[in-house]
């Protein structure tokens, strides 16, 4: 009898994870092909349509959708590096968007500042970072003081934020001049992010800068080292005298701030007002982005582009082929599941173990 056995690799295979990712994408596409065939479509035609739309005809939309995904992917990356399970990026994005919209709509009436994007964009960014960080801070404090499970609190805070935002755009902040349609008034033109082409806006540049900043913090500073140490070896961190309490607070401020920026870029760069469509799942997709990128800030940029392409392609399926757009989501989930499953091959190698019986038999 032949036994298969996982043997731990001494060093993690550096390039095997690229192979794992490619293999996972292929397997997920095969699974998706079954679904498409079931829905009565030719999978090859459907995938060709998706790819053409995502990376050729609608490549600008892919960049638009990648922008918030980079921010939420970074948000999750920072927290997951410390094995702090912040599942609340969606809610932190929403409050970030609320803060940006609130600042743009109401601050100009209160304070007189030059009506220039150079003044107002930084104000809105600060507001959304603060809001996202504060929203993340509550679960962080509950965890640090009482040990309340952060998975539950961050998740519930998503729902609370989303309902509050619905309340604002359908009720408290609803535009009186909106002829009864839900949604706030439009933000003034000096609070909008400049656009390059199509709907592609400056947010993507800010997102890339944010990725570089996060990389510097995580890889080049003592603080980042402490985050990683807690995540990789909590016992060693404790013996080394790392202050867990302080790190939980800091990691969540950073993580929440990043997610808050995603909300800012959606309001200031895309929708220009509070309306339905701010909470469309970028926070949850950020988890997939971060994990597929192996919690590497630069990887986040690439994976965000890839997953944004799947979203754009999924929308295209719905529009041109009347197929459910959910195909894009299913593919994302499947890629993540396959990566999780195949990940073992980067940490272990599969060995065929021959039973020692053959040595003792005397023929």
């Amino acid at each position: 009898m032949i036994h298969l056995k996982f043997e731990k690799r001494l060093e993690q295979s550096r390039y095997s994870f690229v192979g794992v990712l490619v293999l996972s994408i292929v397997l997920a596409l095969l699974f998706g092909a079954l679904l498409l065939a079931y829905a009565g479509a030719n999978p090859f035609v459907a995938y060709a349509e998706m790819a053409k739309s995502a990376f050729y005809s609608d490549w600008k939309e892919t960049l638009v959708k990648a922008t918030p995904l980079i921010f939420t992917g970074l948000s999750v990356t920072v927290a997951f590096r410390m094995r702090f399970w912040n599942i609340g990026a969606e809610g932190q994005l929403v409050v970030g968007g609320l803060a940006a919209a609130g600042a743009a709509l109401f601050l100009p009436e209160i304070v007189t500042l030059p009506e220039s994007p150079w003044v107002w964009i930084p104000i809105m960014m600060t507001a959304s970072i603060l809001a996202g960080a504060l929203w993340a801070l509550i679960p962080a404090l509950l965890k640090a003081f009482l040990g309340v499970n952060e998975i539950i609190t961050t998740l519930m805070f998503n729902y609370i934020a989303i309902f509050y935002y619905q309340f604002l755009y359908t009720d408290a902040w609803k535009d009186p001049a909106g002829r009864g349609f839900p949604g706030s008034a439009r933000i003034p033109s000096f609070t909008k992010l400049p656009r390059f082409t199509g709907r592609v806006h400056l947010g993507i540049v800010i997102a890339v800068i944010a990725a570089i900043l996060i990389w510097v913090i995580m890889s080049k500073t003592r603080q980042g080292y402490e985050f990683r140490l807690i995540g990789e070896n909590p016992t060693a961190a404790r013996y080394a005298g790392v202050n867990l309490f302080r790190n939980i607070i800091l990691v969540m401020i950073l993580s929440g701030g990043m997610a808050g920026l995603a909300g800012f870029s959606e309001i200031s760069g895309v929708s220009f007002k509070l309306q339905q469509g701010l909470a469309v799942g970028y926070g949850f997709t950020g988890i997939i982005v971060a994990w597929l990128a192996r919690l590497n800030p630069f990887g986040v940029i690439l994976v965000a582009l890839l997953l944004a392409g799947l979203l754009v392609g999924g929308d295209e399926l719905q529009m041109s082929m009347q197929l459910p757009a959910a195909v894009g989501e299913v593919l994302q989930g499947m890629i993540l599941l396959f990566v999780l499953g195949a990940d073992i091959f980067t940490r272990y190698r599969l060995r065929v173990v021959q039973p020692p019986v053959a040595l003792t038999s005397g023929d």
Binding site: M156, Y164, P324, A326
Partner: protein
């Protein structure tokens, strides 16, 4: 407040809480074995959509229940395979199941209807109230407890059976042992791997059953986002319940009660002017409050906490 109103609210609370009880007990069984399955939301919604589709096409609500449980068990198996055999990170695997399950449920909801159409808006077979003779005539308790659909009665059985199994059988002892100290259990000759597989699958089946109760009894039919985060509330309820089936019932009734009150207030929104969006927040706020209070109590009153090996992969060759 008249008695009829109280009876009606408590009755809705019970039926609203039933899916939570099934799923919470399923998750308790899984977590007791040391496996954290955060895929509850995804499994519930898959159970709900496929259960409803199966019931619709077979014209039998029972077939819907069986299929929903099979789907739940299958997804439980996927979680077990990834986390036990392939040693994947449990938290992220559960999240992945939820993300995939939610997307797939949405896809299937648009494809599993008659002639490949949508399921939304269809009415299919459902479980209706059956009042139990004599028992249902007991004042107050009767109409609440003994005038419900048959899955609610099944829920009573599951609660009693799960409690008996966990605390009064040898297998229940083994289940608790592999979650508290897999090394010790392994040394005693308990097959940790096999049992963890088994209880993750059984847990998934109960979670799928919870989903089926939503689409076949509580809010019959299919609509996008039918579960509305109930799967996540289940994760909190498990902690609230201190991994004990009886306490799960208390917690689920509490949430069912909030649902019922919310329902009432929305129906008679003339006297109290709270916007629906803010009312909808209530269950989630309550979950946070409950998570905080339970953790507080578990810290200071030495209530039983999580199984010691929860979320930790067990590997014979590595020390922990």
């Amino acid at each position: 407040m008249n008695a009829d109103l109280i009876i009606s609210i408590l009755s809705i609370a019970l039926v609203a809480g039933t899916s939570l009880v099934f799923a919470t007990i399923g998750e308790i069984i899984t977590e007791r074995s040391g496996i954290l399955n955060l895929g509850v939301e995804g499994i519930m919604i898959m159970g709900a959509v496929i259960g409803f589709a199966a019931a619709f096409h077979s014209e039998s609500a029972w077939i819907g229940v069986v299929v929903a449980m099979l789907v739940g068990g299958l997804l439980g198996f996927v979680h077990a395979f990834l986390t036990i055999t392939l040693r994947a990170e449990q938290v992220v695997t559960g999240l992945a199941l939820t993300i995939m399950g939610t997307g797939l449920a949405s896809f299937l909801g648009q494809e599993l209807g008659p002639e490949g159409g949508a399921l939304v808006g269809l009415t299919g077979p459902r479980f209706t109230e059956i009042s139990i003779p004599i028992l249902s005539e007991i004042p107050i308790i009767g109409p609440i407890v003994f005038n419900q659909d048959i899955l609610v009665y099944l829920m009573y059985v599951v609660v009693i059976a799960a409690t008996y199994f966990l605390y009064h059988t040898r297998s229940g002892l083994h289940l608790r042992a592999i979650g508290e100290s897999p090394q010790t259990a392994d040394a005693m000759g308990v097959d940790v791997f096999r049992l963890r597989y088994l209880y993750t699958i059984v847990g998934g089946m109960l979670i799928g059953l919870g989903g089926a109760h939503l689409s076949l009894a509580y809010t019959p039919g299919w609509s996008e986002n039918l579960t509305g985060g109930r799967g996540w509330i289940v994760i909190a309820l498990v902690i609230f319940a201190s991994w004990n089936p009886w306490r799960a019932v208390v917690g689920a009734l509490l949430f069912g009660g909030v649902n019922a009150i919310q329902f009432r207030m929305q129906a008679s929104s003339t006297d109290i002017a709270i916007p629906a969006t803010l009312l909808n927040m209530m269950p989630y706020l309550l979950t946070v409050v409950i998570a905080v209070l339970t953790t507080w109590m578990q810290r200071f009153n030495k209530l039983i906490g999580a199984p010691a090996a929860l979320g930790l992969p067990y590997n014979r060759e590595e020390r922990h």
